[in-house]
Each structure stands twice: as C-alpha cells, then as structure tokens.
Subunit: 346 residues, 2 copies
C-alpha cells in the first residue's frame, strides 16, 4: 500500500526567533512495507513532542553542538526527528510487529521510516493516556526528577525557585520539590499560569515575571530568607537575579536556557563574586546522563499519578499543520505544560 | 613602655582601582603592656599578607559581603586586619607568652593590639622562613590544595588550565596538578612570568594573555583536546573563553575574580548553552570551608618542599610604607607569587 507522507521541515537555517515562514510541509510517496530482515520499521505517528531544544538543531550552528554529540544539526529540507509515540505499520525488525505501540525517536511527520540505528521500544501504556509517554513518562519527567534530586541534591525545608514553572519540566520540578518537603516558588509569564501553579499544583507561591520591573527585588520579596536551590530553565536575567538571592552553598541546576536560544545577546552575566563568596554551584546537565534513574523515577511517578498527588499539564494541538505554531509558541510562552502534537488516532 | 604605632588605613571607600591617594599612614601612641587576665595581646608584626580580596572590604559595599560573613567591611580610618606572623610583646592571655612567635589575623601596622575574640595560634616555623607561614603554609597554599583536589576532583591525565598562574595561588595549583599527573597550562601577564612557569615550575606550557588578541583561540591552541579543569582566579573574559574550550563534564573552580573586583562592567557572561550541553560545573569556594584538610595539606606540602619538588614564589617588600603600593600592584600584575610585606625583624 502506498500513501503520501507529509512532514514538517525548515526551508533554511533559523535565525533568531522561529517564524511560520521558516517552515514548510513536504509530501513524499511512501510504501507501507519493510523488507524482511532489513531492520527497517515504518510507523504511523500518533503523538510527537515539541521541545525548545530543537531550535539549537535548526539554527546556524555553533561548535558546541557539533562536538557535544547532542542536538545534532538538521539540514534544511531534512526530516526532523523528535520523541514520540507511534504504531507499527510494517516491520523488518523481529522485535516489532504490525500494530505494536512504540515510543522513541520518530519524526515531525505523519509517518516515520526508521532505518539503520534508531531508538525505539515497545510501549506498555500502563493504563495512562498515550500522550503521557511523550511527556511525563519521557524526557520531561526524567529531567525534572533527575535534575531536582540528583543535580540539586535537596534537603527538606530548603527554599526552591523554579523558572518557566508552568512549562513541561518546571511544573513537575515544583511538585516533586513540594512532595519532598521544600518551600517552592515558581515564576511564569501570565496571570493564568500563576494561578495554576498556586491553585492546582500546590506551589507555595508564584509570580508573573512580566509584572516585575526588577527581578532581583521580586526574588527578594518571594524569598526573604534566600534561595537554596534554583532550577533554571531560562538563563539570562533571571539567572543573574537568582544568583544575587542565593544562600550560601546554593545550587543551580542549569537545565535549559530558553531566553538565550534565540538571542545570544541576552546572555547571563551572574556576579562571580557572589558565586565565590556564597560558594554557589552552577551545574549544567543533560537527562541522557541519568537514564539509570529511569526505573526509580517511573515507579515514583506512576504512584503519585495514581494517588492523585501529582498533576501533569499537557498542551496538545492536533494535526501535522499545527507543528510550526506549536514550536514557535514555545518561545512566547504559548504552552501550558508539555507541548505535544497529536498526529493520528490509535 | 610606650611606642608610636604606625598603621595603614584608607581615607575613604575605594572606588574602582585602588590608588596611592586612597591610603594614609596613621600614628597612635601605644603602651606595650596587657592587663593580666584580660585576654588582650600586643604583637610586634613581622610579616603581613597582601591579598586582592581586601579590595572587597575597602570598596563601596554590596549586600553579598554584608551577609556572607566573609570580607566584612572596613570603615575608612579603621585599622585593617590581615593574616600575618608576629611576635608577642605583651599578653594577658595565658596561652601566649612574651617573645612567642604567632600566626593569625594581625594588622597592616607595626604593632597589633588584639582584644576580644581573635584568630591567633603559636607558630612552629619547622625550619622554614617565617614568610612561608604567611603564604604557602597559610591560605594561599590551602586554597590551591583544597581548590584543586576537593573542588576540581582531578583525574590523572586530565588537562588543567590555571589563570593568574604566577600568582600566590596559581603557581601552587599548577605544581600540585603536575605532581598529580595532569597536563597543565598557565597564563600570566608578562614574558618573565611565562618563562618562570615553564622553566622553574614545570608547567607543560604557559602563555602571556596580553599577547593574545582572542582568548578563545589562544586556549584552543594550547588545549587542542579541550580543558577538563579550569582553576579560575580571574573571572571576566578568560572565564568565557575557558567555558567555550571546556570538555564535557568539565569542572571550573571559581577561586577569585580579580578582573571584576575593581570593574564590575567586566563581568563574565559564560555561554550557558555550552554549560548545559557540556554538563559543566562552576563551583565557587572559600578556603575556610576546607580547614579539615589542613593537616593533609601541610604534611604533603612540607614533604614536597623538603624534597625540592615544589617551589614557592614570594614577592616581599619591606616596611610599612610599602603596603599601599604592594596592594595596588596586585591589580596590575605587579607581584610574582605571594605578595608579603616584611614589617620587622624577629
């Protein structure tokens, strides 16, 4: 059987903020079969993850990304790979059978053709929505869990600040921190998000950073006794303000730098004198280094979800055409929680 | 017996780079006796330490220093306390007797009068010059040792970069790192200093940062395989350049920020994206947190000095009048190794 596979790609390397005209939808005929013994699989994509880090693969390229082995470049016109859930349509790999649900690196397309080496495993939904396996049970969840527990090394009663707190990772960090016994304040970019953090997710407090003319003073107000842990999703000015409000032996987990991805002039210049005197640690991390924690993370998270002590926020758009706007929106606070695009029905 | 005690103080809070006119020498009559049972001691100062961090106590004051408990402010006109070696002239404290050699917090003066709580202990010179007890056996040495071994957590064969490498701490860090089995490159601010690092101290390589129009490229040249450990004494642009040349899981020990002490516009803005992708850790530290390592440090360092496998660089001026210039020189690379002023003879 032959279909037309439509997929999203970029026309050119992205410069600055992504915009609709950077993207195009391409179509290509696809035969829904796989050579037996070939290892190839053909998937019908169901849910795909929309992540800020993809901008680093789509923009003009720095030497870092070239050498780090993460966030490898995507050539304009090329299919864009992304984490997601799919259903096997045809398989040359004995590990997968037609109609199996799978999770792993698929594509921003209606179908994925995976050949050579790929990262894919069979999915047991465990009674949860398939989208959970793109968000909370995938990198967003593990990043929040590993970043908070392993990188921040919290102690009960410590004061925790989370930026982008209603985002895919931040909203989980805040809840893990509350359950653990920390005092948690989050910041977000709208009144509605702030209300959500306080009313639904149990943050001790939250504020809209857009309403704060001076971030240093804002943090001083929300943390009169100082910040012990800062889970940093944004970089830039907020990082500087957090450093100046950190307590001695404070820890900063550098998880993402969304404020700097599209404008490198917004680089944080934290006061190194404060870093020395207050013995602050700033540690960058990637979730891929903490895969060993996955079983612990999964069992804790499943329990919390089943007992209703953890809420996951998802922001799901529908249809391939919605991918560019879903992605662009990440850089304007367009999403509440994990941004996912639903591409097809099970 | 009454003498005139002369001491160095500042006329006003220092703004920017320190200059001769910021300082003055004051005189005050002093009776060389101590009330029995009073705990007071009167010391004749012999050697006193001249350290860059003192600028942070002498300049207009930030909230950090107020709250950190370190580098407490010095009011203009006030006696300036500093680490040094002295001889007891009179003592109301049964722990100390006249003519005892002592080491601890004394003053930038010819005599010190210590009352209330003070930090002082009897000194056993162990056959080494008294000045060694102000430099290598004191904070400079322990900072180098604890900073390198505990904060940087080196592995044999790792590539180590040291800034201000001919300074009081840097020249020791480089030698500890070489002895441990690392590859070590230092930077300094003159041809003579660079020669000293390579020829006398055994650094694998060294360069004059003033000859390098582009610090990033310079580091790329000296570390074609990247930097694993950066022992940062300077902050600013050099920190940015180091971050962009770090390897994955690189560690930066933030020991001092001399390039930023007198000009906060020179703040480093390291690329946080590189910090995340390369999982770099930046950790500020203060030597006071590592006093537990002092016995290990001392025994290792004494052994190395006795076997001639460690060289200490000292830069000693003579006389109270030389203190202002000795201090000012620190901010212009005026010193080679530990800057000390000799105030009197034993």
């Amino acid at each position: 059987m032959e279909v037309i596979n439509r997929y999203v790609t970029v026309k050119t390397q992205i410069n600055g903020e992504p915009k609709e005209s950077d993207f195009e939808i391409k179509s290509t005929p696809l035969v829904l079969s796989a050579e037996p013994g070939s290892n190839d699989v053909v998937l019908k994509n169901l849910y795909v993850s929309i992540d800020p880090y993809q901008i680093n693969r789509l923009k003009a390229f720095s030497s870092t990304q070239k050498t780090s082995g993460y966030a490898t470049a995507i050539t304009p016109g090329q299919v864009i790979d992304a984490y997601g859930v799919a259903k096997v349509v045809a398989s040359g790999n004995p590990e997968f059978e037609k109609d199996d649900l799978v999770v792993g690196m698929i594509t921003w397309g209606e179908y994925s053709v995976l050949t050579g080496q790929y990262m894919l495993r069979k999915l047991d939904p465990m009674g949860f929505p398939l989208s959970y396996h793109v968000g909370i049970f995938a990198f967003s969840g593990l990043t929040a869990y590993a970043g908070f527990f392993e990188v921040c090394k919290p102690k009960k009663g410590e004061k925790v600040f989370v930026s982008a707190a209603s985002g895919s990772i931040g909203h989980l960090v805040g809840q893990y921190a509350k359950q653990f016994g920390c005092y948690v304040v989050g910041c977000a970019g709208s009144k509605e998000k702030v209300a959500l953090l306080k009313d639904k997710l149990g943050f001790d407090d939250a504020f809209n950073y857009k309403d704060e003319p001076d971030l240093k003073s804002a943090l001083k107000k929300y943390f009169p006794e100082g910040i012990d842990i800062y889970f940093d999703n944004v970089g830039g000015e907020m990082l500087e303000a957090a450093v100046s409000n950190m307590n001695t032996f404070g820890r900063i987990a550098a998880c993402g730098v969304i404020s700097e991805y599209t404008d490198s002039s917004k680089r944080a210049a934290p006061d190194m004198l404060e870093i020395v005197y207050k013995r602050i640690t700033i540690r960058g991390f990637l979730t891929a280094d903490f895969m060993n924690l996955y079983p612990d993370f999964l069992s804790a998270t499943v329990d919390h979800l089943r007992t209703g002590t953890l809420h996951t926020l998802e922001d799901i758009s529908t249809g391939l055409e919605s991918i560019p706007q879903a992605f662009i929106g990440l850089f304007h606070g367009g999403n509440v929680g994990k941004k996912i695009v639903k591409l097809g029905d099970e």
